[in-house]
């Protein structure tokens, strides 16, 4: 028979739409409108998981977000999602659910031996092991990790889309129960922009026992009527299945909406609201007694919800364990739904008979002063034993409902840094002082009565000071310490998800733990994915009892976002791949792609590394390009270099303050290389700046620092150097740039330079000319990065492809070779040019890099004062050197350190390689390295070693210039 525990009725299910699903490979059926949990219960399935530490069998305990046991893996393959609470998963046709943390099966799990060995796993087990003798942690750690399963990640990258959305509101209301609905209605009627978010599928909040009236209507009718009014208001947005998971500064809140629609799994809302109304309700409080974790033990409100909403009976004969008056009405309601009630067992002796009237009318047995001593049944409750002053006994039941009062959901209030106070009547913490613009209403503020909650919500919606909130909570007893330690050694659980027992709390107290923050970390109380929603308050109440103080003296742990677990996909949204950081392409990208370019992502830029020809290896291609530049001529796309246009009467003064060298004597039409420091003296950026006119300069920056240099200059101009009359404008994207390099570069350029005399005499090294090249408006800079005769030609970006084509045409007779950044890298390493981010790694001074000669002593510049600090001039700093591999066939390991001895085992690192390449010019690998007192080591034999690659290569220390140290080629 399918769904043997399905009763008649149920507000939410549609019996005309049966849905098939599987749990651990077995087929079941439920209905549209079910949650996975309600469908399992309708099928009589209670055993759904094994606990974290002891691998005890566990069943569904809650109805919604508070669930701590029923964490299942939902879906298969790339779409699988671990640790999903069955209580919040909407049932869909074909859904596949699997249990976690068990091996080989849920019913027969070898890990349950941990339960028998639990004396070995007391509170603080991890710390004690970690602090234990010798290698105890190393020995246990792999076993602990394997045993402590909390789900597996999906098999591959999640293929489903996730989304983010921003919204603004006058009022954001968290929670669509009575108070939240009332607040939304009031604010909506005032014409405010309202967002009402509720985590449940349907508005209305916690299940009601029946009989309660609001504004003259039964509660259910009032809810339906109010929801209809809200949906008719254009200024009110109602989001169901949407949890407010975090509240932050300045009215900012983050919401997670589960859409489960095809094409969108989940949407993250970022809401900025003027006012925040928290109507987050309360979670029913578990009771602590031996065996309170057995499958079939459930919160009473959850049992009521499963029956009234889904007609899913948690059992045929239920016992109710309580400490408060509210349980009697729940018992009556459950009875009226067709479930037998074995008894109500109340820890209290003296209960107002009026509160019990509804139960008495239905002839439900009531036992006062009853202490639960054990629960029978391992994989499903079969009965319980209790004792009382006048006797006690055993009750047969197949389900057990706990009703321990209510825990106001104060998380969001606390996240905004509102203060809390302990309420002696409610035996719970309540919001005390909120921050401005935040108000808690309804059960989360201690207003438990239905009509009061509506009044409270209405006042908040009107932004009016409410009449003093009424806190008519059903009378309740505090948590019973006596009951928690019944049953001699049987475990009474406080935190189901993390397997924290009452005995663990007692042990921690005896070991001297006083602070609840320490207790939490020592016992792991409240550190599961449920963050102690069910167990946290009981844990600190027990600690207070053990310490003999009031719970208010123990306090609570800090509530941090998110309120419920958030899928990574929701946080990521579309911000991955190109959506996170769009790639930037130069104007020539399509040409590169069509000509064999092998691309590389450098920061956000996509650039050709080299151009492969048929049959070539990567190294063959790079060697070919490098040798073409050294012996003939090559051309490269360098459009990505940062360019800043600097204009104004004080432009030269600005350069003087930014760069270490002097700029005031630079003539119009000439250019100069400069290095820029951070204020702490470390090299920050470098590049060539050209003087285009009297008050007009063009600065080039490294590709990766183009934005950072602008921010650096802007900050100085807007604070310390406000008096300078100068404008700095980033123009990187406005200009395309190509560099011609090689002994024959001039010959090629001369063919296309219209009216620009490019002879060495007319245009020497480090000069600039504006004019026309190949019919295009152009600036031509003679400068060199490769060490060869070289010209960089800039044209407006749109003219880039035309310039490139005309250069190629002009160079065809000379076999002009296109080359990429990998080849450019080899050329600059051979020439010993430092690169920001490699040699200048943020820890190198100009002197470390051999650039002290560029530091003027006659003027101030950013970073100058730091260069004489003791730490920056101490001997033994790492200095830039060249390394030449001794045996030409050796290959340098990647990320190598430089050491003195060519042996295995630990030894002092003298420094590290910053850049390396195979030099076709030298016919062997070379490197640039930062080595301690490197300039004193010229000619020394050292070793480049990588412990991970287990290699050690002999190298000779040399000057960091391998080609043309005199620079004759530049001036050719």
């Amino acid at each position: 028979m399918t769904q043997p525990f399905r009763l008649p009725g149920g507000d939410r299910i549609d019996r005309s739409q049966p849905l098939a699903f599987t749990f651990d490979g077995r087929a079941y059926e439920g209905y549209a409108g079910d949650t996975l949990a309600s469908a399992l219960i309708a099928n009589g399935v209670h055993l759904v998981s094994r606990s974290f530490k002891y691998h005890r069998p566990r069943g569904i305990v809650g109805l919604g977000a508070e669930e701590s046991n029923a964490l299942l893996r939902i879906g298969t393959g790339d779409r699988a999602e671990p640790n999903m609470r069955a209580t919040t998963v909407a049932l869909t046709d074909g859904l596949v659910a699997q249990s976690q943390n068990r091996w080989p099966s849920l019913r027969f799990d070898l890990g349950q031996a941990a339960d028998l060995l639990s004396r070995l796993l007391p509170a603080g087990f991890y710390y004690k092991t970690f602090m234990g003798p010798g290698d105890a942690w190393m020995v246990y750690e792999p076993y602990i990790r394997r045993a402590a399963g909390l789900g597996r990640p999906p098999d591959g990258a999640d293929p489903d889309p996730y989304d983010k959305r921003h919204a603004h509101a006058d009022v954001l209301i968290a929670g669509g129960g009575l108070a939240g609905l009332a607040a939304a209605l009031a604010a909506g009627r005032r014409g405010e922009r309202v967002i009402l978010a509720d985590e449940d599928i349907t508005l209305g909040g916690a299940p009601f026992a029946g009989g309660e009236m609001v504004e003259g209507l039964p509660v259910a009718d009032w809810i339906a009527g109010t929801a209809a009014k809200l949906s008719a208001m254009g200024n009110v947005r109602v989001l169901t299945r949407t949890t407010v998971v975090g509240t932050y500064d300045h009215g900012f809140a983050v919401l997670v909406e589960s859409t489960e629609r095809a094409g969108l799994r989940c949407r993250l809302w970022k809401v900025r609201a003027r006012r925040l109304v928290l109507a987050t309700g309360a979670i029913e409080r578990p009771l602590v007694f031996p065996g309170n974790d057995r499958p079939g033990v459930m919160m009473a409100s959850a049992a009521l919800g499963y029956i009234t909403r889904y007609a899913a009976a948690p059992g045929r004969r239920l016992a109710i364990v309580t400490n408060n008056d509210g349980a009697y009405r729940t018992a009556a309601s459950l009875h009226d739904s067709g479930v037998a009630i074995a008894a109500v067992l109340d820890i209290r002796n003296d209960v107002d008979p009026a509160a019990q009237e509804a139960a008495r009318q239905r002839a439900i047995p009531i036992h006062g002063g009853a202490v639960i001593t054990r629960v029978d049944g391992r994989q499903r409750v079969t009965g319980l034993r209790w004792s009382a002053a006048g006797g006690g006994g055993r009750l047969a039941c197949d389900g057990l409902c706990m009703s321990g009062g209510w825990i106001p959901t104060i998380h969001l209030h606390s996240q905004t840094r509102g203060t809390l106070r302990y309420d002696e009547a409610a035996h719970a913490f309540l919001p005390d002082r909120p921050i401005e613009g935040v108000r808690s209403v309804g059960a989360c503020a201690g207003t438990f009565d239905a009509a009061d909650a509506v009044a409270h919500g209405t006042a908040a919606g009107n932004d009016a000071t409410p009449a003093a909130p009424l806190r008519r909570a059903a009378p309740a007893a505090p948590i019973s310490v006596e009951q928690a330690f019944q049953g001699g050694g049987r475990k009474s659980f406080v935190d189901f998800q993390n397997d924290v027992t009452a005995a663990d709390i007692r042990l921690a107290a005896r070991e001297g733990y006083r602070s609840v923050e320490h207790l939490k970390r020592y016992t792991t109380l409240g550190m599961g994915t449920d963050q102690g929603k069910l167990g946290g308050l009981n844990g600190l109440s027990l600690l207070a009892a053990e310490l003999g103080c009031a719970p208010s003296d123990v306090g609570t742990t800090t509530f941090r976002p998110p309120y419920t677990p958030v899928p990574f996909g929701a946080l990521i949204g579309r911000d991955h791949g190109e959506g996170l950081q769009p790639s930037r392409y130069t104007a020539l990208h399509d040409w590169h792609a069509a000509h064999g370019a092998v691309f590389n992502q450098a920061g956000s830029w996509v650039r050709p590394l080299f151009y492969r020809r048929d049959g070539e290896s990567d190294l063959d291609a790079v060697n070919r390009e490098v040798m073409a530049v050294r012996r003939n001529v090559g051309v490269i796309d360098v459009a990505t270099l940062g360019k800043l246009d600097i204009q104004g009467p004080d432009a030269a003064e600005l350069l003087d303050r930014l760069y270490t060298n002097s700029w005031k004597k630079l003539a119009v039409g000439r250019s100069r290389y400069g290095i820029m420091l951070r204020e702490d003296g470390m090299v920050f950026d470098d590049g060539v700046t050209a003087r285009l006119g009297e008050q007009h300069y063009l600065m080039s920056t490294t590709t990766g620092n183009a934005e950072a240099v602008v921010e650096h200059i802007e900050l100085l101009l807007r604070t310390a150097w406000r008096g300078l009359r100068v404008f700095v404008t980033p123009v990187t994207e406005q200009w395309f740039a190509a560099a011609l390099a090689g002994p024959n570069a001039r010959r090629v350029l001369a063919r296309v330079a219209d009216g620009i005399d490019v002879t060495d005499k007319a245009m020497p090294h480090m000069s600039v000319r504006c004019g026309r090249v190949a019919g295009l408006t152009a600036r031509v800079f003679r400068l060199s990065f490769s060490g060869e005769l070289s010209y960089e030609i800039n044209v407006p970006s749109a003219d880039g492809p035309a310039l490139w084509q005309r250069l190629l045409d002009a160079g065809r007779v000379d076999d002009l070779m296109v080359y990429g950044t990998e080849s450019m890298g080899v050329l600059r390493i051979e020439k010993g040019h430092v690169v920001v981010g490699r040699e200048a790694d943020g820890r190198a001074t100009p002197d470390d890099l051999g650039l002290a000669k560029l530091c003027a002593t006659t003027k101030d510049y950013v970073g100058r004062r730091s260069l004489s600090l003791p730490a920056l001039i101490e001997p033994g700093r790492k200095q830039l050197v060249g390394l030449v591999v001794e045996r030409a066939d050796d290959r340098l390991p990647v990320g190598a350190h430089v050491v003195a001895e060519g042996r295995a085992g630990p030894q002092e690192s003298l420094g590290f390689i910053t850049s390396q390449a195979y030099s076709p010019t030298l016919g062997r690998p070379i490197a640039l390295a930062l080595v301690k007192a490197g300039r004193d080591r010229m000619g020394q034999r050292l070793f480049a070693t990588s412990p991970t690659a287990s290699t050690s290569v002999a190298v000779m220390v040399s000057e960091p210039v391998f080609v043309d140290p005199e620079g004759k080629r530049l001036h050719a």
Binding site: E711, R718, L869
Partner: protein
């Protein structure tokens, strides 16, 4: 997440901005006249007040201007309208 009212762009989310640190740490007019202690104090030493704090924020994904923002470190409230850094007086 803070909402910062940029004088150019209006109220914008914090994640459009980059924090630039304590606005009172202004570069000395004559660094070479500083002894090592005074200079390293400028480089590294910052007060950490519980209360109003003048700080620099750069509107990187907006107008690309530096702002001076006065923020209460206890409540994160921005206690005065932010100004462009060049319009702000000495902190």
């Amino acid at each position: 997440m803070l909402s910062i009212r940029c004088p150019v762009c209006g109220p914008r989310d914090e994640d459009e901005f980059v924090f630039g640190g304590d606005a009172s740490a202004v570069r000395p007019a004559d660094p070479m006249a500083c002894d090592d202690q005074a200079w390293t104090a400028f480089l590294y030493r910052r007060d950490n007040p519980a209360g109003p704090h003048d700080e620099l924020w750069f509107h990187r994904f907006g107008c690309r201007r530096w702002l001076r923002v006065r923020r209460d470190t206890r409540s994160h409230a921005i206690v005065a309208p932010p100004l462009l850094a060049e319009d702000a007086g000495a902190p």
